[in-house]
């Protein structure tokens, strides 16, 4: 009998912990999950709420890379659709960031649809293509 009571208590404590964790996870997901937009998707569903952190991805449009004051980098992201996303990033671009290459950026849209990136996804390897962009770039052999 006592062994059973003990097991019951253990399970009860575990259940409480799991419930607490589930609550935290729900809260954290609601707070921090980032939606992902390609230019095409943006054209379809419209701008997300300005100021909300989202991710965007596509190709850096050749010829669009420009430098501003105070280490600002500006470029456009395209994906073969009509839509173009204009991105501004202040900081050092990842080593493999180039025109014509894929990029995934985390940041926020403003009301005018301009995207301010806080993070650019760097890759370690020139053959690696982020999953979200695989339909845009065919891997070179």
């Amino acid at each position: 009998m006592r062994a059973r009571t003990q097991r019951l208590i253990t399970v009860a404590i575990a259940a409480i912990l799991v419930l607490a964790a589930a609550g935290l996870v729900t809260y954290a997901v609601r707070e921090s999950a980032n939606l992902f937009y390609t230019p095409e998707r943006l054209a379809k569903v419209g701008l997300p709420e300005p100021g909300k952190t989202v991710k965007i991805g596509g190709l850096v449009e050749p010829g669009s890379l420009a430098y501003g004051e105070n280490a600002e980098i500006r470029f456009s992201v395209i994906d073969g659709s009509e839509m173009t996303i204009h991105v501004s990033y202040t900081g050092i671009a990842p080593d493999l960031f180039q025109e014509g290459q894929g990029v995934v950026a985390t940041g926020r849209f403003d009301t005018a649809g301009k995207f301010t990136a806080t993070e650019l996804l760097a890759k370690h390897d020139e053959n690696y293509i982020p999953r979200e962009l695989r339909h845009l770039e065919a891997p070179e052999t």
Partner: protein
């Protein structure tokens, strides 16, 4: 030459398969012999691969794709495992190494159990070798060899990363033998103290190198990627954290199984899961199913094979578990306030924390199943992992003094008062005087609480100071590991909350202020190395009377057509001044360079804490008597003459 290696690997595959058969038949002698010969065969095979890399034999496809004659010798060797196929060969070698070590060192007085453990290890090794030979063979030739190779990814040409994969694999694969011992115990439905005592050493043999491997990876990310941080909650990083968390849970659960015979079913389950999560890690890293900053060229079909392997081995073990677990006996009854209760709390929390990390890591896949493209980042993990782990850290110094079975809680208010006192002191000092956020001040208080509490407990167990040296190494190991945890918490909290970062945009002679340092760009020049050339900046930094020079670089590796950042770091007791060189740009006809500058306070405590944890683990499994002779001498010397006579 490489064909010989290919042949040796096939031989190792056959020998491992035989080892599986003989082991499961309960033949310890033959299984042990086969384990040793299989390791020999794979050792020869791996050596031919290393030789091919050392001699830059570009007729081997793998070498042609990943090496270059101009590469420094260390990176030619390390290049062997700096790619998918070669690293799988290393994985197989380590699996067989653990099998051979088991053949020699696993002595429990139960030959049938040992034989079955070796047998299952043989099957795991055969599975890995099959994957190596049929899905990712490193032994292929190219039809028309070129004179020059494609070189190793320059980011990997780094000392920390040369040793990061072997260490990490010792950890991942180390759990294969723990898994084998768990499955063998399930076959005979006997999980008792002798089993736990035997498993503990092997679980530590995986945990210590895994800690070291994770730390080297974090260190590398810190100084090589140029982002100033050391942990990004990236899927690839999480893949190594999850087996580590489960491994830590296992080590604590095994204590109860070894000392009291309790938690037996749970220990077996953890032993199985730790290895499943290691394979899951390999799957996440190699399949490219998740977007990762650390991902390398990947291949979904390889991932699929790994997933099938995971399901086959994990499923078989869990099936065995379902049919046998009910036969395993539990230990004596215990009260909630007891060492068993405390260790159960530890295990529940670690298991739940692992589950939240798993959820966050797989979140993009879960979201996609519901038709959405979403991901979670660092905030998710901060909001879940940290609050879940915090109660365990707060309780640790209190409950490690609890005794088996039942504990009198009448003195607990003193502990509560001590904790409240430390929090109040650090809270007031931090927020009032140093102007840091409350949660950061409390985080530091928690770390200090862990370090102080662990030392207090060590002294309590020793009773008198001279007896400290008489304490078993296990107690020292535990204390060291818990102090390491506290040191890590202090470092992690201070570094992440107080990191200062800024982007500089400097022309020649330009000045900037970073965290009390005055920086000035003195020089820019092109330098040449063995297989790279580089833009090197010289920046003088002065603070008070001190003057130092920092030289961050942007290297370009023509062979790989790829640039890397070489950061410049100035270490001081209060933290690292950290500079990374960015782009050269012309604005209004003036040439300017961007720099990323950081001040990372107490960053060394992050890495130091992990080293202490690994050292503590190592200490706690050293055989009795390693330091005994010396400890006794020291003890004699420190005792007063009167006590010696007793």
């Amino acid at each position: 030459m490489i064909e010989f290696g290919h042949f040796a690997a096939i031989l190792a595959f056959c020998l491992s398969g035989l080892q599986g058969v003989q082991g499961l038949r309960g033949q310890r002698g033959p299984a042990a012999f086969l384990a040793l010969t299989a390791l020999g065969a794979m050792g020869v095979s791996f050596l031919t691969l290393v030789m091919a890399f050392a001699r830059s034999d570009f007729s081997v496809a793998l070498v042609a794709n990943h090496s270059h004659t101009l590469k420094p010798f260390l990176y030619k060797i390390a290049g062997t495992w700096g790619n998918h196929e070669g690293s799988m060969a290393l994985w197989c070698l380590v699996t067989l190494g653990f099998g051979a070590a088991g053949a020699v060192f696993l002595r429990t007085g139960r030959p049938k159990f040992e034989a079955r453990s070796l047998g299952i290890q043989g099957l795991v090794a055969a599975g890995s070798l099959a994957y190596l030979l049929f899905a990712s063979s490193p032994f292929m030739r190219v039809a028309e060899p070129e004179l020059q190779g494609d070189s190793l990814n320059p980011l990997l040409q780094d000392p920390a990363l040369a040793f990061h994969p072997p260490l990490l694999y010792l950890g991942y694969v180390g759990y294969s033998f723990v898994f084998a011992m768990a499955a063998a115990a399930l076959i005979e439905a006997r999980v008792d103290r002798i089993w736990a005592k035997a498993v503990r050493g092997w679980a530590m043999a995986a945990f210590v190198p895994l800690s070291g491997g994770i730390m080297l990876g974090a260190l590398w990310a810190y100084y090589e990627l140029g982002w100033g941080g050391w942990w990004f909650w990236d899927p690839v990083e999480n893949a190594s954290l999850m087996p580590w968390l489960l491994g830590a849970a296992l080590l604590h659960s095994l204590i109860v199984t070894e000392k009291r015979g309790g938690f037996a079913v749970w220990s077996v389950l953890l032993a199985v899961l730790a290895f499943c999560f290691s394979i899951l890690g390999a799957f996440l890293v190699r399949s490219g199913i998740l977007t990762s900053v650390h991902a390398f060229a990947d291949d979904p079909t390889r991932g699929l094979v790994l997933l099938i392997g995971l399901l086959a081995y994990g499923g078989a073990a869990l099936g065995l578990f379902a049919f046998r677990a009910y036969k395993i006996k539990g230990g004596p009854i215990w009260a909630a306030a007891s060492r068993e209760g405390a260790l159960m709390g530890n295990n529940l929390i670690l298991a739940v924390a692992t589950a939240t990390v798993l959820l966050g890591t797989l979140f993009p896949l879960i979201a996609e199943a519901f038709g959405r493209q979403m991901s979670v980042g660092e905030p998710y993990f901060r909001l879940t992992f940290v609050p879940i782990m915090a109660p365990a850290l707060i309780a640790l110094p209190v409950v490690q003094a609890w005794s088996w079975g039942r504990m009198d809680l009448s003195g607990i208010w003193k502990w509560a008062a001590a904790f409240a006192g430390i929090c109040a002191v650090f809270g007031l000092l931090g927020v009032g005087l140093m102007d840091i956020p409350l949660f950061a001040a409390l985080g530091v208080a928690l770390g200090v609480w862990l370090v102080g509490g662990s030392m207090w407990e060590l002294k309590r167990r020793a009773v008198t100071w001279p007896r400290l040296l008489k304490l078993p190494l296990r107690v020292w190991g535990m204390t060291l590991a818990h102090i390491g945890l506290g040191v890590f918490v202090v470092g992690a909290v201070v570094e992440t909350s107080q990191r200062y970062e800024t982007t500089l945009d400097l022309a020649m002679g330009g000045r900037a202020e970073v965290a009390g340092w005055t920086l000035s760009l003195e020089d820019m020049r092109v330098v040449e190395g063995p297989n790279w050339f580089s833009d090197r900046a010289t920046i003088s930094a002065s603070k008070g009377g001190a003057m130092i020079e920092l030289r961050p670089e942007k290297r370009y590796y023509p062979a790989a057509r790829m640039p890397t950042s070489e950061t410049a770091i100035h270490k001081s007791p209060s933290g690292d001044l950290y500079l990374a060189l960015g782009d050269r740009r012309e604005v209004n006809g003036q040439v300017r360079w961007t720099f990323r500058a950081y001040f990372n306070p107490l960053i060394d405590l992050v890495f130091g804490g992990v080293i202490l944890m690994a050292l503590g683990g190592l200490f706690s499994v050293l055989p009795r008597g390693v330091f005994k002779a010396r400890a006794r001498q020291a003890d004699m010397a420190s005792l007063p003459a009167g006590e010696l006579a007793e």
